[in-house]
């Protein structure tokens, strides 16, 4: 949905987006509902603490991560089992006269491999879907934005959003009860 248009400031810097500040979590919540209803896709909210229900206010779809974890977890558990089964028959070790393909002996490693790779998938998949880690973000250049880790609440609508329009987006944020609005350069 990236816009093909490029917005620049008068000084010639590329615009990352428009940042709006709110005084309370409730104001942020209701503003988020407005932005969601206006149909924006590339935007985010920032607050010093998690706000319950914000994902609904922002209209987030359900994450696909659980499906990924289930697929990787189950298949790695299965592969772990097959690996041991093949190794036990390929290089048999007689233990207490038990059959070489005793499934009981394979369970712990099957289980552990399933857990290990599920955990890796959950962590790495989450980071990949979030676009993390990144060493810098344009918002950090804004002194005012630092209060997002203290007592202020922010919405930033990015210029790459297809619906982004300098005037109309600004008007929407003003209307939503923002206490301050500023441009964010890339």
């Amino acid at each position: 949905m990236a816009s093909t248009r490029l917005y620049v400031t008068e000084a010639g810097e590329t615009i990352h987006g428009i940042l709006a500040e709110y005084a309370t979590p409730a104001a942020l919540y209701h503003a988020a509902e407005k932005v969601r209803d206006a149909g924006y896709a590339s935007w985010d909210t920032h607050s010093p603490f998690p706000i319950h229900g914000m994902e609904d206010a922002m209209g987030f779809p359900r994450t696909k991560l659980p499906v990924l974890v289930a697929v990787v977890g189950l298949s790695s558990a299965g592969l772990g089992f097959l690996m041991q089964w093949w190794m036990s028959l390929d290089y048999p070790l007689p233990v207490q006269g038990k059959p070489y393909d005793s499934w009981q002996a394979f369970v712990p490693i099957t289980f552990e491999l399933g857990i290990l790779l599920s955990a890796f998938t959950a962590l790495i998949g989450m980071l990949a879907m979030n676009g993390l880690p990144r060493h810098h973000h344009p918002l950090f250049r804004k002194t005012r934005f630092l209060a997002s880790s203290d007592d202020r609440f922010f919405i930033c609508i990015e210029a790459r959003d297809a619906k982004f329009d300098p005037d109309r987006t600004r008007a929407l944020l003003e209307e939503s009860g923002a206490t301050s609005i500023e441009l964010v350069e890339e």
Partner: protein
């Protein structure tokens, strides 16, 4: 210090109370019929009517009794764990955990006939009560656990007793379990009931304190009750995993029963906005976690014994799993039905959030819980007889005893639940619970 009474539209009286005496007739009928069925099975066993043996009757009766005892213990466990953790979300479901826990004295009473018959018959399933086994070295070294201050071997003459010895320590422990369970469940229910009348934070603090020492007593009594009343059916066998296995089944079956209670209360139009799909989601998660926990514990117990290969231990599993043993099929059924199937079904969020879907799974889980205890006790009917293990006819005897005793518990709940508000509506956490949502 008291807090102001909560005024919430969801807590309107008609939403959180059932008519006094509602369903009383059905409940009493279930109790009477269930009890008669179970006692009839015991009577048939004792008299040998219709070819039902004493051991068979005792094994199936004991399966039912230990099964419902586990559910009541699970109710007590959840009541205490919600107090101990100061859990907010569970404030609207704790009252039903208490109702389940209040069955504990009766569950204990239901176990007693089996113990009395065992002792009166000098050991049927509990072979260690039989003087014929007193010469067994394994029993002799363990005998103090059952018989103190009596002895099956005379200290001075080293002569082995030929007459049955009264298992005093065993009986004393049974008495202690009954006292502890009655005390704990009655005290927690009384505190909760008092809170219905006067919204006092101090009552919640008292319940929390009671739960702190109560949890310790619960753990010890549940553990030793599982040793005494289940593991001792094979006195040579020993497993330190055993109490954890019994506890996992207790928490699992209690949560399944609670899901059914709430699904029913929702179906009759109560608890609207009080117990929501979010609460069902959490109950589903607990059910899910305990099906995994049960599998983890059951497999761990089996795995160590399988690897260790010590004769006294492996006999227990050999009898149940060798090729051709009818119990092998039951064991595999448990692996699939008690773990794999619930795991794969409850994994999905819509299942956890739907009272109907979760209720159906819970019903299945209750059946599996009884099958799990059946797997422990029922094969012992053939143990020591020299007969190959086999499933006797008269499966209806097994069903009559187990379903009968379960019906007693269900009847008890039907009679008990309308007696009080359906939620502890003055709980300090009630607001938090009403607003409860899973934000993930």
């Amino acid at each position: 210090m008291t807090t102001a009474p909560v005024h919430r539209p969801q807590l309107a009286a008609d939403n959180i109370t059932l008519a006094k005496g509602a369903g009383r007739g059905v409940g009493m009928a279930l109790i009477v019929v269930g009890l008669l069925a179970a006692l009839a099975v015991l009577g048939m066993g004792l008299s040998g009517a219709a070819g039902v043996t004493k051991k068979h009757a005792l094994a199936v009766y004991h399966t039912g009794a230990m099964g419902v005892l586990a559910m009541a213990l699970g109710g007590l466990f959840f009541t205490m764990v919600f107090h101990l953790t100061n859990a907010g979300w569970s404030a609207t479901i704790r009252r039903q955990c208490e109702n389940l826990a209040s069955f504990l004295p009766f569950a204990w009473l239901l176990v007693l006939p089996a113990l009395v018959i065992e002792i009166a018959n000098h050991g049927l399933l509990f072979a260690w009560l039989n003087p014929a086994y007193y010469h067994d070295h394994a029993l002799q070294v363990k005998s103090a656990f059952f018989y103190l201050p009596n002895h099956i071997v005379d200290h001075d003459t080293h002569k082995v007793a030929t007459e049955p010895v009264l298992p005093v320590f065993f009986l004393a422990r049974a008495l202690v379990y009954g006292v502890v369970w009655t005390l704990l469940s009655r005290r927690l229910c009384a505190l909760s009931r008092a809170q219905d009348a006067s919204p006092s934070v101090e009552l919640a603090a008292k319940a929390r304190f009671t739960s702190s020492w109560g949890m310790l007593l619960f753990a010890l009594t549940t553990a030793f009750a599982s040793f005494d009343w289940l593991m001792s059916v094979d006195f040579k066998f020993f497993s330190t995993m055993w109490p954890v296995w019994y506890f996992s089944g207790a928490a699992f079956s209690a949560m399944a029963l609670l899901v059914l209670v709430f699904a029913r209360l929702k179906a009759v139009g109560k608890l609207e906005g009080v117990v929501t799909s979010e609460h069902f989601h959490d109950k589903g998660k607990i059910l899910f976690s305990f099906t995994v926990f049960w599998a983890y514990i059951s497999f761990s117990q089996y795995f160590l014994i399988w690897y260790g290969n010590i004769p006294e231990e492996t006999a227990y599993y050999y009898f149940r799993t060798f090729e051709g043993s009818p119990w092998r099929t039951l064991g595999i059924t448990l692996m699939i039905g008690h773990f794999i199937a619930p795991f794969l079904i409850v994994l999905f969020r819509p299942v956890k959030k739907s009272p109907l879907a979760l209720g159906l799974v819970a019903l299945w889980c209750l059946g599996m819980h009884f099958a799990d205890i059946y797997f422990v006790l029922r094969p012992m009917v053939d143990a020591g007889t020299g007969l190959p293990p086999h499933i006797m006819g008269h499966l209806w005897v097994d069903l009559a005893a187990i379903v009968g005793l379960f019906a007693v518990l269900v009847g008890f709940l039907i009679v008990k639940i309308p007696g009080l508000s359906l939620v502890a509506h003055n709980d300090p956490w009630i607001d938090e619970s009403l607003e409860h949502r899973n934000y993930v």
